[in-house]
């Protein structure tokens, strides 16, 4: 019985142009489309491929969020996950708290592989996977673009600033996914119907008995300073003249 645990975060859909609320208390989320964090979708796809190749027997999707997060977990089940766990939390949970929640579930489920997205496209923190690996005292392979499993180990190609880096880790381990690891499958209608019958357990954050109080205080949200529109030139001669005027060539 080898399990894979996958984290799915509910975030504002990546196609939505995010706007800051006029009072600076957050971004506009009312009536905005919510989706699975794209990097987490890649994590789930990788888990499903590992299972399909015989590298695991069960894929469990986990989310921490409000009750509505069931929608994203159902999508995960429709993609092919076997069951889902929602840790219901109505307030935002910081990455360290999320890592503690995952650790708690790991203690119960004992997975060999934990797959998370490399970052949430809302907070852009890129922390939870690394923090979980630290608390679990297990290896981390972040920003993975290729994962090869063999004999209780994984060889992982990572996208780093300088190019590609390959490391080998012993299992169990935490993996975070980069964009080019795979292309997630589309969900088909019959799978959506089937997903409705798959188990989705809900536990409350409070019932886990963890210290998940936020450490940071967000004082305000602001729209970024916008660049002022520049000039249009009509040919290469004018372009070079404009560059010279700015002392750039």
């Amino acid at each position: 019985m080898s399990k894979i645990l996958v984290g799915l975060k509910r975030v504002v859909d990546y196609n939505v142009r995010v706007r800051v609320k006029p009072d600076g208390t957050g971004v506009v989320t009312d009536g905005v489309k919510m989706s699975i964090n794209p990097f987490d979708e890649i994590a789930l796809e990788e888990a499903l491929r590992i299972k399909e190749k015989g590298g695991a027997t069960e894929v469990i999707v986990v989310s921490i969020g409000p009750a509505d997060t069931q929608q994203q977990l159902r999508t995960g089940l429709a993609m092919g996950a076997d069951r889902a766990i929602l840790v219901q939390a109505d307030a935002a949970v910081e990455p360290l708290a999320a890592a503690k929640v995952f650790l708690k579930l790991i203690e119960k489920e004992a997975p060999q592989i934990v797959l998370l997205g490399k970052q949430g496209i809302d907070d852009d923190n890129s922390q939870t996977g690394q923090m979980l690996a630290a608390l679990w005292q297990r290896p981390q392979a972040t920003f993975a673009s290729k994962i090869e499993l063999a004999g209780g180990k994984a060889k992982v190609t990572r996208e780093v600033d300088a190019g590609l880096e390959t490391i080998e880790v012993d299992l169990p381990a935490v993996f975070t996914t980069d964009l080019r690891l795979n292309e997630p499958r589309y969900v088909k209608l019959p799978d959506i119907m089937k997903a409705k019958k798959k188990p989705l357990d809900t536990v409350t954050l409070a019932s886990l008995g963890l210290d998940t109080a936020p450490q940071f205080k967000t004082l305000k949200f602001e729209a970024p300073a916008s660049r002022t529109k520049g000039i249009m030139v009509k040919d290469v001669g004018e372009l070079v003249a404009a560059l010279k005027q700015k002392g750039l060539v």
Binding site: D122, A133, A162, T218, P224, R227
Partner: protein
């Protein structure tokens, strides 16, 4: 008193420029004492470069064969051991720092502040969220150590000319053996590094093929510039992954950014917002890239680029 430890990033005996930017960020905190830790098998050259950065008081060398490669699982417990003497621990918001620092924070039992773009005080900072579409002001608790990463594109590199004390430091912690380095493959291009280049020329989907992308390299060489690419160009196989500029690639702040055949998707614009001057060349006059460009030219890139190279010769 504010005491900040910066974890140096380096490769091949060279200090990464992002470290000098962390020093500038740390220097913006009034009265802070700034030390740098260099983890390496042999830290000599890198420690000397770190010690030359203005504003640094002390450089700690932690030399150990296990530190030859930057494995987060191996480095994190060592950073934690050193952190006892500091109020803040900073690292660059590069793939190196993003991998390492959250592991450090969790071992210390504290959260992390990612991507500092501005300092308001020792415990108050500004950082981007939602791919830079919102900026938040965040307050960290003063009764805990603050672990943070510094967004390199938001700070200039600290000047050289300083002469910090360089000391060997030893840490006695058990290092895990469950994570092993295998190899690194980076194309040696001889061009300036994309992340730190003063000038960058990037190509987009309109280039149409990997072969056509050569004219981007050619213009870049003419300008002594680094080369970047849009996500569309990378996904289409015209350019290597590590050249991708944008939210999911590299965030850069060159003096001059030339976007060729790039329409300007939000995710790309996020990566170039801090460039000093943006030049856009695109045949579609409605392309969103022109909204942010300082100088825009509507035209066929396959005509414009050869002309431009010729004009730069003259």
């Amino acid at each position: 008193m504010t005491k900040i430890l910066i974890v140096a990033e380096h490769a091949g005996g060279k200090l990464n420029a992002a470290t000098a930017k962390c020093v500038t960020c740390a220097s913006a905190i009034a009265g802070a004492q700034i030390d740098i830790a260099v983890f390496a098998a042999n830290a000599g050259d890198v420690a000397a470069q770190a010690g030359a950065l203005t504003g640094v008081k002390k450089v700690l060398k932690i030399e150990n064969a296990a530190n030859a490669e930057p494995l987060a699982a191996v480095l994190a417990p060592q950073v934690v051991a050193l952190a006892a003497n500091y109020t803040h621990v900073f690292g660059p918001s590069t793939t190196y720092g993003k991998d390492l620092m959250p592991r450090v924070a969790a071992l210390l039992g504290v959260g992390q502040l990612s991507d500092i773009m501005a300092v308001e005080s020792a415990y108050k900072f500004r950082r981007p969220v939602y791919a830079g579409n919102a900026i938040v002001t965040v307050e960290a608790p003063q009764d805990k150590k603050l672990v943070a990463t510094v967004r390199a594109a938001s700070f200039q590199a600290a000047a050289t000319g300083g002469s910090a004390a360089i000391e060997a430091a030893s840490v006695t912690v058990d290092l895990p053996v469950h994570t092993r380095f295998v190899e690194r493959s980076a194309a040696a291009t001889g061009r300036p590094d994309l992340q730190t280049a003063a000038r960058v020329v990037s190509g987009g989907r309109a280039l149409g093929s990997a072969d056509n992308f050569k004219i981007i390299f050619s213009l870049a060489d003419k300008l002594k510039a680094g080369v970047g690419a849009s996500r569309a160009a990378v996904d289409s196989g015209y350019a290597a992954n590590e050249l991708q500029v944008g939210q999911t690639g590299k965030i850069i702040s060159p003096e001059l950014y030339v976007a060729v055949g790039i329409s300007g998707a939000i995710q790309h614009l996020t990566g170039i917002k801090d460039a000093r001057t943006i030049v856009a060349i695109n045949k579609d006059s409605e392309a969103p890239i022109f909204e942010v460009a300082d100088i825009g030219l509507v035209g066929d890139l396959f005509k414009v680029l050869p002309e431009l190279e010729k004009a730069l010769n003259g």
